[in-house]
Amino acid sequence: MTDKQILQTIQEVINQSSGLPLTEIHPNSTLFDKLAIDSIDMVDILFNLERKYDIELKISEIEQYSKDELGDEPFEIDQIITEKGLEVLRKRMPEIPSEKLTLGITIHDIIRLITVQSLANMVAVQLEKKKN
């Protein structure tokens, strides 16, 4: 399955769940701010993708993977993501414009940065894991 096919499937699932026209669902659209997807739509989208691909998807894994990669270094202090934490996020989420990953953002902001492409990348990672 190519990355393009995954992206297309995700756009279709978002369309079916939220009713948004496909023409408005761009790879760089943020799910919550740009597409205004609410939490129940998000759950619906994740469940559908999990079933379609037989994988497990958790948004919280972005934070967990980053923490694991940092080891003993703190990912956040008082919920504000550290410089090291931001570095890991930039590597892990290259689809997010770097100006959005600057010092001062909190762990709760991560979810608002997730784009359609982020979701496609998450699916691709899980599919790769499944293959191995």
Partner: protein, 252 residues
């Protein structure tokens, strides 16, 4: 004749071996639904129930042991079940326990247990079942609450508080999942002739029932019929987030 259209619908009922639960189970069976009858300890009551319905309906009852104090185990049981039956169309959260004891004499463990069995357990079980409903964009949940969620409550302070939380849970969840084709409602029974309400009855002035508009206690089948109504898409497709009081006017 009203058509409830519950034939071959799959219904999961917790506490299916209890006083009200067994009446609900019987009512769904009589409508042709497939009942997954959740019970904790006593399966014999389900056997008794079987003897009260025609033999042709026996294959439509699937007993499942669900200890709601062990949700991890429930999840395994439910996952196994769903992989066999594909979907659960209706969930009836009926299991619950009321312990009558003055609040100040109850220890912390007893308070926790009341919240656990009457509020957290149905909430968590709903989460387990809801995923399946969400995928189908269709489903119906009926929570069995109580009139003590808004009236009375002496001697059952935490039980009545947990039931008030069930009412609020019903409404808030209805708000969240309505757009996905899932309706969530509650039935609030009044004085129903079961073991549990006999115990509650002791805490109410004896003349109260006589003064209520319908001057008798209710029967479990009268609650079951309210549940059927709310579970039927044909009958109540535009009803969600409601708490239907079935108490013979006792709480007026």
């Amino acid at each position: 004749m009203l058509n409830l259209d519950l034939m071959n619908k799959t219904v999961l009922i917790t506490g299916a071996n209890g006083g009200i639960g067994s009446a609900i189970t019987k009512a769904f069976l009589e409508e042709g639904a497939v009942v997954i009858a959740g019970y904790r300890g006593n399966i014999q009551k389900l056997d008794t129930l079987k003897s009260e319905v025609p033999n042709s309906l026996h294959s439509k009852i699937i007993p499942i042991q669900l200890d709601l104090n062990n949700l991890d185990q429930c999840k395994i049981e439910l996952d196994n079940l769903i992989s066999r039956i594909e979907s659960i169309d209706i969930l009836v959260n009926c299991a619950g326990t009321a312990v009558e004891k003055p609040f100040l004499l109850s220890d912390f463990e007893e308070l926790d247990s009341q919240i656990q069995s009457n509020f957290l357990a149905p909430v968590k079980l709903t989460q387990l079942v809801l995923k399946n409903m969400l995928l189908k964009k269709k489903g119906c949940i009926v929570n069995i609450s109580s009139i003590v969620s808004s009236r009375f409550g002496r001697g059952i302070v935490v039980y009545s508080s947990a039931k008030a939380a069930v009412d609020r849970f019903t409404k808030s969840l209805a708000l969240e999942v309505g757009r996905k084709g899932i309706r969530v409602n509650a039935v609030c029974p009044g004085m129903i002739e079961t073991k549990m309400t006999n115990m509650l009855q002791k805490n109410m002035p004896s003349e109260l029932l006589k003064m209520s508009p319908i001057t008798r206690p209710g029967q479990p089948f009268e609650i079951a019929r309210a549940v059927l109504f709310l579970a039927s898409e044909n009958m109540s497709s535009y009803i969600t987030g409601t708490t239907l009081v079935v108490d013979g006017g006792l709480s007026i």
